[in-house]
Amino acid sequence: MSDNTIDAAKPFCRRLSAALLTAALIFSGCGQTEEPVSRELPSVTDFSREVSSIRSSETSEDTTALSADSETVSAGDAASRQTEAETSAEVTSSQTEAPEVTSSQPSETELISAVSSEETSVPDLTELAETHSDTSAPETEPPETINLETECSVPAASAPTADTAYDSEFFSSDLFIGDSISTGYSLYGFLDDKNVYAKVGLNPSTVLTKSVSTCYGEIGISTMLSYTMPKRVYIMLGSNGIQWLSVGNMLQSTDTLVDLIKESCPDCEVVIISVPPVTKGYDNTVEDVDVMAKINEYNTSLNSYCTANGMLFVDAASILKDETGYFNSTYAESDGMHFKSSAYKTLLSKIQSDVTEFEEANAPKAETEISDDILSETVTEAETITEAAIDTFMTIPETAEKNDE
């Protein structure tokens, strides 16, 4: 075989390898919720290095749109979560037809084309099985993903003791806006599709311009708001963009989003949820940026913004962190950024608790009954004033009497 033939065959061989690997992943994962797929994918560290090298060549905010962001680290994990959550899957090695009723799975296509362009050995994730439309919670708890080794091993975190009880009915009229982390609300079955407007890679700026795949189709945020008219809207955005957008820009975009929400739904309550933490391992993979410090800075600004504007700020970060100030690895997926299912429960419990407290504190004060003592004092005072007024007005001045004469 000539060198030219070998060179020409290389792309084909890569695609064939990817297809074979994909098929192996699909058949090994089909219907078996105990067998996580993620360990077959390239290591998180490889993804992170690719992301860092891509991002270092970017200077403009306009290029943040999914071409290189931290979501690429978790593309594989997002896909594996989809496989874990389903109870049956259409198995195919070629592109499937879009389901009639779209669910809220994140769109991977843009991410994949960006990653593939770097000629990595990443399998083409668009060829993985599409999930079906049923996103009801699985009977069994999704299995824990295997913690892949990273360069910086993190000591085992203490088990979190935060409350995890929440009432899903409490959120039935609400809308959660977010990025790939928020897609987990519906993927894991904690919330219905109609309660989630989330997409891989979304940031405070792109949420205003991008469309998102929802149960109503691929729509923008304004349309989603008009369809759902939520009672409360929760915003959790910033994990994407925190590394290259300024705090000021993200705040401006958040303010614009809040305005848009209030114009669409004047009576709805807007709640801002802090940007979640990342693990120390994740932070160490990002060059030149202290990610956790920037998250803390942005969260402080969001808190001040909410106080200034009479809105509730839910400090989710505080309950998801460990004693070192980083994402508690008990809650964190192996990529150091995304949530395990336990984190969602803890977060929803925290949100429900904070919202309830906030709404009670801001409820219109009930009119108190006036006691009899105060009432009688008031009446007596009124009578005294009235008598004095009568004396004043009934007294005819001497001059007037003279004029009449």
Binding site: S246, G248, N249, L251, Q252, T254, D255, T256, D259, K262, P266, D267, T300, S301, N303, S304, Y305, C306, T307, A308, N309, G310
Partner: protein, 213 residues
């Protein structure tokens, strides 16, 4: 509950000014050069502006004079359709601590901040009356961490009290805040990382030590 859209209110006033073909005078309270950057770029097309730098909240004193110097420099360098003057006060920090006594532990964005808004806006209203300005307003609303509704509410009250029209505004709208960060970079303006008072500095963990004045 529907909020008042102060940007719309401002648009109406500016449209009216354009129709009349006049150039009214405006006393513009400014907290710092970065916040004033977009506001001056925007309003100098319609008004003769006097920037009023009165910020007794700023701590420490060196920071006050540093921001003042940057304010004067920016005014000198910004090309403007109508003239921009400057009127600066001395530090006068005692006024601030008197105004916020008892509110020291309230988080940034709350009642302590409202007291600070009132202190600075009242001085601005008085200065505007004394110099015969047609309007007065403040750059403070450009920050997403300031309550524009409260600023405009206080401004409206003081307008009645001092007999000078308040220019209702919410300068962070129309990407004003973002534009101010761009202008800050373009002009190399010093941009502080806390609002100004010792309490905001402490909340952000910028300085662990401070003195009670």
């Amino acid at each position: 509950m529907n909020k008042i859209n102060y940007q719309n209110e401002l648009d109406k006033i500016l449209s009216g000014i354009e129709r009349e073909g006049t150039v009214p005078s405006l006393l513009l309270h400014s907290c710092c050069a970065p916040c004033s950057s977009y506001v001056l770029e925007y309003l100098s097309r319609y008004f003769k502006i006097t920037v009023f730098y009165y910020n007794p909240n700023i701590y420490p004193e060196e920071e006050f004079y540093k921001r003042r110097a940057e304010q004067e420099r920016f005014i000198a360098e910004l090309p403007a359709k109508n003239p921009i003057g400057f009127m600066g006060s001395e530090h006068m920090s005692g006024e601030f601590y008197k105004a916020v006594k008892g509110l020291e532990h309230i988080r940034e964005g709350g009642e302590r901040c409202f007291a600070c808004y009132r202190l600075r806006l009242e001085a601005s209203a008085a200065a505007a009356r004394d110099m015969g300005a047609d309007y007065f307003t403040t750059t403070l609303s450009i920050s997403p961490m300031k309550n524009a509704g409260k600023l405009n509410e206080i401004g409206g009250e003081l307008a009645d009290k001092y007999g000078v029209k308040y220019l209702f505004s919410d300068f962070k709208k129309k990407n004003g805040y973002k534009r101010s960060t761009e202008l800050s970079k373009e002009y190399g303006i010093y941009r502080q990382n806390y609002c100004g008072c010792v309490f905001s500095m402490k909340e952000r963990g910028i300085d662990d030590t401070f003195e009670n004045n």
